[in-house]
C-alpha cells in the first residue's frame, strides 16, 4: 500500500516512515499542510496519516477541505490532542480513525490495516482469492494451504492485486503503489516481481492482458 505521512516532527516522521516501510508499505513523508494538500491531489495514496498540529496549514482544516471537495482518501489522524472534544472534531471532519500520541508501531500498523480493510469493504484481515490466502495482519501468504515466503515487494504487489480481484492494474499504477518518491525504480521492476510471484505460487495466478494490465485470476 502507498501511504502519505504528514508529520512535522522530524524524529517521529523518520521513525514512523521507517517502521511502516518495514511493514511493506510505501511511505511518502511531507512536513506541512500545504505540501500535504499538493501530494494528496495526486490521488495515488491508499491512506493518509495526518498529524493535526502542522505548520503552514492546520491538519483539521485540510481534512475538512478534502472531504468538502469529495476526496474520499482514507485518513488516519495522528495528534497529541487527546481531549474527547478534539477526537470528536477530528472524526467529524472526516477522519477514518484517530491515534493519540504517544503510540507504538504495532498500534499504528494495526490501525492502518483496519482502516484499509474497512475501506475495501472487508471485515476480516484475511483475503481469500481461490486457493490463495493472504493474512494482511501477519503478512503471511498461503497457496493451497501451504505457507509461501515472499519478499516485502512481492508481498506488497500481491496485496495490491488481491485488493480488487479481477480488476486490472497498469504497470504504472503498480509502480506507484510499490515505490515512494525517493526510490529508484528499475524499468522492469514490476515484471521481475510478477515473475517471482508466478514462480513461487502458480504460473497462471497472475494474468497479463495486453493494453489492460495485470489481474489476479485466483484459479490456475
Amino acid at each position: 500500500m502507498r501511504l502519505l505521512l504528514v508529520e512535522d516532527d522530524s524524529m517521529i516522521g523518520a521513525a514512523a516512515q521507517e517502521g511502516l516501510r518495514r511493514e511493506g508499505h510505501v511511505v511518502d513523508w511531507v512536513r506541512d499542510g500545504r505540501e500535504a494538500a499538493l501530494a494528496i491531489a495526486n490521488g495515488v495514496y491508499d491512506l493518509v496519516l495526518l498529524d493535526l498540529g502542522l505548520p503552514r496549514r492546520d491538519g483539521l482544516s485540510l481534512l475538512r477541505e478534502l472531504r468538502a471537495k469529495g476526496n474520499e482518501v482514507p485518513v488516519l489522524v495522528i495528534t497529541a490532542r487527546d481531549a474527547v472534544a478534539d477526537r470528536i472534531a477530528g472524526l467529524d471532519a472526516g477522519a477514518d480513525d484517530y491515534l493519540v500520541k504517544p503510540f507504538d508501531l504495532d498500534e499504528l500498523s494495526a490501525r492502518v490495516r483496519a482502516v484499509l480493510r474497512r475501506r475495501s469493504g472487508r471485515g476480516k484481515s484475511v483475503i481469500r482469492v481461490g486457493e490463495l490466502e493472504i493474512d494482511t495482519a501477519a503478512r503471511h501468504v498461503k497457496w493451497k494451504r501451504r505457507e509461501v515466503a515472499l519478499s516485502a515487494r512481492e508481498y506488497a504487489l500481491l496485496e495490491a492485486l488481491a485488493d480488487r480481484p479481477g480488476a486490472f492494474h497498469t504497470r504504472a499504477q503498480l509502480e506507484e503503489r510499490l515505490y515512494g518518491w525517493d526510490e529508484e525504480i528499475a524499468s522492469n521492476a514490476v515484471e521481475v516481481h510478477i515473475h517471482a510471484l508466478r514462480r513461487k505460487l502458480d504460473a497462471g495466478l497472475i494474468r497479463n492482458v495486453r493494453g489492460m494490465g495485470y489481474t489476479l485470476a485466483g484459479e490456475s
Binding site: D9, S10, M11, I12, K101, P102, D104, L105
Partner: protein
Amino acid sequence: MSMRRRLLFWLLSSVLAGGLAAAAVVFFQARYAANEIFDYQLRQLALTLRDRTYSPRELAEVLQGEDALEFVIQVWGPDGKRVYASHPKLDVPGAVQLGFSDLTTRDGRFRVFAIQQRGLTIQVAQPVAARDQLALAAAGRTLLPFVVALPLLGWLIWRLVGREVRFLESTAKVVASRSPESLEAIETTRVPEEIQPLIGALNGLLARLGTALAQQRQFIADAAHELRTPLTALMLQLQLAERARDEAERQKAHAMLREGIARAAHVVEQLLTLAREDPDARKAAQEKVDLAELARAVAQAHESSAAAKGVALRTVLDGPVVVEGDRAALRTLMDNLVDNAIRYTPAGDVTIKAQGRDGEAFFEVDDSGPGIPVAERARVFDRFYRGETAAEGGTGLGLAIVRRIADRHRGAVELADAPGGRGLAAVVKLPLAS
C-alpha cells in the same frame, strides 16, 4: 480566649462597677442627708433641754420615752459634777468644746452637741454607727437591682453575642469545608459590616490563589502535551531498534534513539529551567556579572555547533559591561538566544554583542536567518508557542525562559530586524550596575 467569654466578662464587670459606683454615691449622699437631719435633731433636743430648767428628776421624766440608746444625755453641775446621765453605764466623756464635736470612746464613735445654761452643761450624744447604717441601707437598696439583674443580663449577653458569633462560625465552616479546588469567592451579602473586610481580604486571596493554580495547571497540561512529541519519537525509535533485521539497521536505529533521548532530555531541562525561573520562586542571587565576559564564554561554548551548521559566530564586546544579577540565569538567557540564532540560520552569520550605554547594558544576538514576522513577534514569548516558521527540535520554551530571566532582572527583551534588514535581532536590556 473566647470572644464571647471576654465580652461577657467585661460587660458584666462594667454593669457591676456601675452599680457599685451608684451605690457609693447614694451612700455618701444618704449619709450627708442623715448627718444634717440628725445634727438638727441633736441640737433641737439640747435646746429644748436648755429652755426648761429641769431638775434631774424632771429630766428623767421628760426623757422617758425617748429611745433608749439613740441619745445619750448627760448634765453636769457648775462644779463639774455630773448631775444626770441617761445611760450611766455608757462612758461618754464630757466634750471639750461647746457646739458640735466628734468623740471616740470605748463604746464607739459619737456625735456630740454641748450647751451651757446657768452653770449647767448639757451634752447630747448619738452613736455615729446609726447614721452609717442608715446610709448603708440606702446604698444597699440602690445596689440590689443591679445584683438581681446581673445573672439575667449575663444570660442575655451570652445569647446575643452567641447569635452574632454564630455567623463567624458558619463562615468558618464554609471556609473549612472548602476543597483546594473550590476557590470561588465567599458570599458577602449576609455578612455583618465588621466582618466584611476580613471576608473581602479572604476572597482576594482566594482569587489570587485561583489564578496561580489555573496557571500552574495550564503549565502542567502544556508541559505534558509538549512531552508527548519526544516520547512518541522515543517509542517509535525504540521499536525500530528492537526490530532491526541486521547490524546496519540496528546502528541506524540506535543513532536515532540517542538523538531522541537527547531531545527529550533537552525538553525536560528547559521545563525545569522555566520552573526555576518562576517569578515568585525566589529572589535572584545578586552578584556583579560582566556581560561581555559571559558572552565570550557563551560564544566559545557554541563555536562547534555553529561551525557544524556552517554559521560564522562573531562577537562585538565592549569592555566590562557589569550588571547585578544571577550569573547562572544570565548564562541560560544567553545560551537560549545564541542557540536559537544558530538553529534558525541555515548558513550565515550570528553576531553576539554586549555593550553598555546610557546607564543600560545591552546584550544582543543578530542572525541572518529568516527572521520572525512582526505580527508573530509578541507571541513567540508565550511558552510552548511554536511559530509558523518554527525550526526543528525546538521546545517552544526558549524565549519564554529568556523573558522570565530578563523580567526577574528588571530588564526587557525585544525582537527586531537585524541590522542590514535580513534576519532577527534579539535585544536584552538590563540596568547597569551602579
